[in-house]
C-alpha cells in the first residue's frame, strides 16, 4: 500500500507558496527562533496533524489541544533536528505519540477489547438492512468520517494509523504495543465494521429517499 506522500514531503522540498521558502529553509530559520518560520512549518503541516488527531479522538476540541501539543513538542525540540529523517515523519510520529498518550491517560485501550471477546472466525454483527446495499463507486466523505467515529477505540486507532495515515503494521505494532498479527487482525475487523456501518447508512438513506 503506497504511503501518503511521506517520502516526498519529507525531503524538505515542500515550498510555502506565500513566502517562497522551502521547508528546509524554514527549519533552519526556526532553529534561530524565527516566528515566521515556525508559522510556515505550522501552515505546511497543520492539516495533517489536526486531521490525525481528529480522526483518532473524534472530538474537535480535544483534537485542537492535541494538535497544539504536538506542534509545541516538536518546535521545542527543533534545534535537535538534524535532517536524518524526514521532518514530516518526525512530526507525524510525534503527533501519534501525543494522541496515544492521551488515549492511555483516559484509560482507553489501544487495542480493542473486543479482541478478547470475538474469535478470529466471527464476523462483526451485521446491522439490519446492510446486506441490501452495496458499496461501490466512491464513499461520501462525511459518511466515512461518521463511520470511523463509531469504531471502538482499538479498531479506530489501527485503522486510522494504517489506512488513513499510511503506517505499516510493524510501525503500528511498535507504537501501539501489540503484535503485527494483532494489528492486521484489528485492521481487518475495523474495515468489516466500517463496511457494515456504511451499508446501513446507505440503507437508511435509501429508505428515507
Amino acid at each position: 500500500m503506497p504511503h501518503l506522500n511521506r517520502v516526498a514531503a519529507g525531503k524538505g522540498n515542500l515550498t510555502d507558496p506565500k513566502h517562497g521558502i522551502t521547508e528546509a529553509e524554514a527549519i533552519e530559520r526556526a532553529k534561530q527562533g524565527d516566528e515566521a518560520a515556525f508559522e510556515i512549518l505550522y501552515q505546511l503541516h497543520k492539516r495533517r496533524v489536526y486531521s490525525l488527531c481528529l480522526r483518532m479522538v473524534s472530538n474537535p476540541s480535544q483534537a485542537e489541544d492535541l494538535a497544539q501539543e504536538a506542534f509545541l513538542q516538536l518546535f521545542r525540540k527543533i534545534s535537535t533536528f538534524r535532517g536524518e529523517s524526514a521532518f514530516s515523519t518526525w512530526l507525524h510520529r510525534m503527533t501519534v505519540n501525543v494522541v496515544l498518550m492521551q488515549l492511555r491517560k483516559k484509560g482507553l485501550p489501544s487495542v480493542s477489547l473486543e479482541e478478547t471477546l470475538e474469535t478470529e472466525e466471527e464476523a462483526p454483527r451485521k446491522e439490519f438492512g446492510a446486506d441490501d446495499v452495496k458499496l461501490s463507486g466512491s464513499i461520501e466523505r462525511m459518511q466515512l468520517q461518521r463511520a470511523i467515529d463509531r469504531l471502538p477505540p482499538g479498531y479506530k486507532t489501527v485503522f486510522v494509523l494504517h489506512d488513513v495515515e499510511g503506517f505499516e503494521h510493524n510501525e503500528i505494532a511498535q507504537m501501539v504495543g501489540c503484535s503485527i498479527g494483532n494489528s492486521k487482525s484489528q485492521l481487518h475487523k475495523a474495515r468489516l465494521k466500517l463496511r457494515d456501518y456504511l451499508r446501513s447508512m446507505r440503507a437508511a438513506k435509501a429508505q428515507s429517499d
Binding site: R47, S51, L135, S136
Partner: protein, 269 residues
C-alpha cells in the same frame, strides 16, 4: 479454496493481490469478490482523510503565544548564521529601565520572594559602550534579582575586552537594594551572573500546586525551559562578555520569566 478459507487469510493478503488460488476464488465467488472489493474501497477512500480538516486559527495563536512565553520564538529579523542566542544586530535598545520593571513584575508574580539586602554596588563599575553610539551610548545591563542577592563581583583591574570602557554611566543609578549591576568586561563577573535561585521557583511551584494542582506540570515545564535559556545565555555571555545583543537577550529572557510568573498569578488567583 472455500469462502471460509478466504475469510481466514483475508487479513494477511487483502492489501496485496493474493495468490492464484485466491484470485481464482474471487473470480468464481460474487460474495467474496464483493467483500474484497468493498473493503479495498473503504481503505482507498480513507486515504483522502489524511488532510481533510483545517484547524481553527486559535490553534496557531495558542502555539505562538506559548513559544513566545518559553522564549523559543525570538524576533523574526534574526540574521542567518548568527548564534541562536544573538538577536538581530539592528536592534539597539536602551534597556537600563527594564531592570526595575522586571524586578517589579517578578516581585508581584512570585508569592514567596525573599528580598535580601543587596551588597552595595562595587565602587569600580565597568560599563559597556554601544558600538553604534560611541560618544553617547553607555548603558548598564542589570540583572533583576528576585532571590538571594549574590555579592557582586568586583571588577578585575585588567579589562581585557577591547570594546569595553571604564566610563561611568550617566544615568541615575538604580536602587542598590534591588539590582546588581553586571560588571562588563570582567569575565569572572560575567560568569557570576546567575539566574534566580531555584528555591524561589520551587516555592512558586509549590504555591501553584496548592492553588491549581492541575497546572503545576505545565508551569514546571515552562520554568525549566526559561531557566535553561537563562543558563545558556549566561554561558554564552561568559564566552563573549562584550556581546551587547546577548546581554539584551538575557534581559528579555528574564522578562519572559517574569511574565510567566505573572501569567500564573493571573490564572490561579
Amino acid at each position: 479454496m472455500k469462502c471460509s478459507d478466504v475469510q481466514q487469510v483475508l487479513p494477511e493478503i487483502i492489501d496485496g493481490t493474493g495468490d492464484a488460488e485466491f484470485q481464482q476464488h474471487l473470480e468464481s465467488c460474487p460474495a467474496c469478490s464483493e467483500l474484497v472489493s468493498e473493503l479495498r474501497l473503504i481503505s482507498s477512500e480513507s486515504r483522502g482523510l489524511a488532510e481533510s480538516d483545517e484547524p481553527p486559527a486559535r490553534v496557531w495563536v495558542g502555539i505562538a503565544n506559548q513559544l513566545r512565553a518559553e522564549g523559543v520564538i525570538r524576533d523574526s529579523e534574526t540574521v542567518h548564521g548568527r548564534p541562536v542566542l544573538v538577536p538581530a544586530p539592528a536592534r539597539r535598545w536602551n534597556v537600563w529601565w527594564l531592570a526595575p520593571v522586571a524586578v517589579a513584575i517578578l516581585a508581584v508574580g512570585s508569592y514567596q520572594l525573599t528580598h535580601k539586602s543587596a551588597s552595595p554596588a562595587p565602587a569600580q563599575q565597568a560599563t559597556v559602550q554601544q558600538p553604534a553610539q560611541p560618544a553617547v551610548g553607555q548603558q548598564v545591563v542589570q540583572q533583576p534579582t528576585i532571590a538571594e542577592q549574590r555579592t557582586p563581583e568586583t571588577a578585575k583591574p585588567e579589562v581585557k575586552q577591547p570594546v569595553l570602557t571604564a566610563q561611568r554611566h550617566n544615568r541615575p543609578a538604580p536602587s542598590p537594594r534591588t539590582e546588581t549591576p553586571i560588571v562588563a568586561g570582567n569575565v569572572k563577573g560575567a560568569a557570576e551572573i546567575s539566574p534566580p535561585a531555584s528555591e524561589e521557583d520551587q516555592q512558586f511551584l509549590s504555591e501553584v500546586s496548592q492553588r491549581a494542582p492541575g497546572m503545576r506540570a505545565t508551569y514546571e515545564r515552562q520554568l525549566r525551559a526559561v531557566n535553561t535559556e537563562i543558563r545558556e545565555t549566561q554561558e554564552y555571555i561568559k564566552r563573549y562578555p562584550g556581546d551587547l545583543d546577548a546581554r539584551q537577550h538575557l534581559m528579555e529572557v528574564y522578562q519572559q520569566k517574569a511574565l510567566l510568573y505573572q501569567m500564573a498569578l493571573d490564572r490561579i488567583q
